[in-house]
């Protein structure tokens, strides 16, 4: 087999932006970093879907729909994306083997439940994890999981199991890779950054309805204040634990992805010499810090140190404050003058 010897595994905070960066670097786009992929792909988001339950808790996300970061980053830079789903497991494996034989590194959407190298505590039925397969030795696939500091491997049985995970967002063997025959210019990067920011402004400020973006944070804040009465202390605590897990668990870079976004704006400044970007970046740092302060408050509740209605009000008020900071920050981004 012709192997991909140039592939470099770099650990990342978030799986999808990490996979995007590592795949693009592998085809020669050396300008790409994790924060740039996250920002160009408009990765920042907030949504609370009240009529869906995940693991008996609230469905809350701090990032955009799975798949968007890779798609939008490649699209904005004029890079061709190949993406495929399969109904047959044999064909899914054959297709992957053929690409590996060509020397390609391939991104795969997988479920984490059967991932052999994850600790048991982290193995929920979450099907939008991303990793890269870049080599095969005998029956072992060599895997670059951006969450892990080292390269890992899986047998064909193990890989098939996670590629064909079941439940919500079932990956159906989905794989993707990028192809290009040109370098990306600074001009293209500038345009892509601008486009990514504009889309993120739309997602956070202008999506209709109360549950998404800045309005979604406010909506959640007001819900939290009622959780204690509605569910009782124990269940309300479990709900807050779920909120914190979505916000801080592996793959967020801390602060519900707000720190990665702040890092992105600093890197954007290197392309667009506009000092506003640095100032707005500080606002996202502030927001990330406040998300973490709210997580400490939530932990007080689910650990049983706190528990009065007043404690829930304080929790809700943190989110209202965050919503205000992010509203101002995205409005400032929407008013940026682009050269």
């Amino acid at each position: 087999m012709c192997m991909n010897n140039n592939f470099e595994h770099i650990q990342a905070a978030h799986c999808e932006s990490g996979v995007t960066r590592n795949l693009l670097k592998n085809i020669g786009i050396n300008k790409m970093t994790e924060p740039l992929a996250f920002g160009i792909g408009s990765g920042l988001f907030f949504v609370y879907i009240p009529f869906i339950k995940i693991n008996n808790g609230p469905a809350i996300a701090f990032r955009s729909m799975p798949g968007i970061i890779f798609k939008q980053t490649c699209h904005s830079l004029g890079i061709h994306v190949e993406r495929k789903k399969f109904s047959s497991r044999e064909k899914a494996q054959q297709f992957l083997d053929d690409r590996l034989a060509e020397g390609k590194a391939v991104g795969c959407q997988v479920g984490v439940y059967y991932l052999p190298y994850f600790p048991k505590e982290y193995r929920f039925h979450f099907n939008a994890h991303n990793l890269i397969v870049f080599d095969k030795e005998g029956d072992n696939y060599i895997v670059s999981d951006p969450i892990m500091d080292q390269v890992t491997s899986m047998t064909s049985y193990q890989l098939e199991r996670v590629r064909f995970a079941k439940g919500a967002l079932a990956p159906r063997g989905q794989l993707y890779y990028a192809e290009t025959n040109h370098e990306v210019t600074d001009e293209q990067m500038k345009k892509a950054i601008q486009h990514g920011i504009k889309k993120n402004v739309f997602n956070m400020l202008r999506i209709p309805g109360p549950i998404a973006g800045v309005k979604g944070i406010r909506f959640t804040a007001n819900k939290i204040k009622h959780w204690r009465d509605k569910f009782g202390l124990e269940k309300a605590g479990l709900y807050l634990a779920q909120l914190v897990r979505m916000q801080e668990e592996i793959g967020t870079g801390g602060g519900g992805f707000r720190y990665i976004y702040a890092a992105f704006l600093q890197e954007a400044h290197a392309y667009h010499n506009n000092d506003e970007l640095l100032k707005i970046s500080e606002e996202f740092t502030k927001s990330g810090d406040l998300w973490r302060t709210s997580a400490v408050q939530a932990a007080g509740i689910y650990k049983g140190r706190l528990g009065t209605q007043q404690d829930f009000n304080v929790m809700g008020d943190y989110l209202l404050e965050i919503a205000e900071i992010e509203k101002q920050a995205f409005e400032a981004l929407s008013k940026l003058k682009w050269q």
């Binding site: 079932a170 897990r245 890092a263 932990a299």
Partner: protein, 135 residues
């Protein structure tokens, strides 16, 4: 968050790999800092698993009372629901609901039992006896 404030409370993941966090250096520029975990997150995960454990115990009791088949116990233990189990086993949801009846479970073919056992990562004997030990 400042680089030096990135928490280092060792989590179950922290024993296997550190995590990348984005944080600022002394001059306010973003850089990455490895973290071994954060107490707040460890607690969030712990209370979640304590709750799952309670449901597992309750399911076990219902099996011992002969109200449901051991499949109910393994559904809770695997944090699944009938939808997910139906996806992995290939059985229809109505079939699984039948298999949840103790009398029906006792008559299941070896092949069907083996299917459940594989999905739950246990042997057929363990599936029947619920006598499993955490890995």
């Amino acid at each position: 968050m400042k680089k030096e404030d990135v928490p280092q409370n060792v989590s179950s993941l922290g024993k296997i790999t550190t995590e990348v966090c984005y944080a600022t250096d002394a001059s306010g520029n973003y850089t990455t800092q490895q973290s071994r975990g954060w107490e707040v997150k460890i607690d969030a995960l712990n209370v979640t698993w304590e709750d799952i454990q309670k449901k597992v115990e309750a399911a076990k009791q219902r099996v011992l009372n002969n109200e449901v088949s051991p499949i109910a116990f393994f559904i809770e233990r695997s944090v699944m629901d009938i939808n997910i189990l139906s996806g992995y086993t290939g059985f229809w949801k109505w079939q699984i609901k039948r298999h949840l009846k103790p009398a029906v479970f006792k008559k299941l073919s070896q092949k069907k039992l083996a299917k459940y056992a594989e999905v739950f990562n246990v042997s057929v004997d363990e599936l029947k006896s619920m006598d499993v030990h955490e890995q």
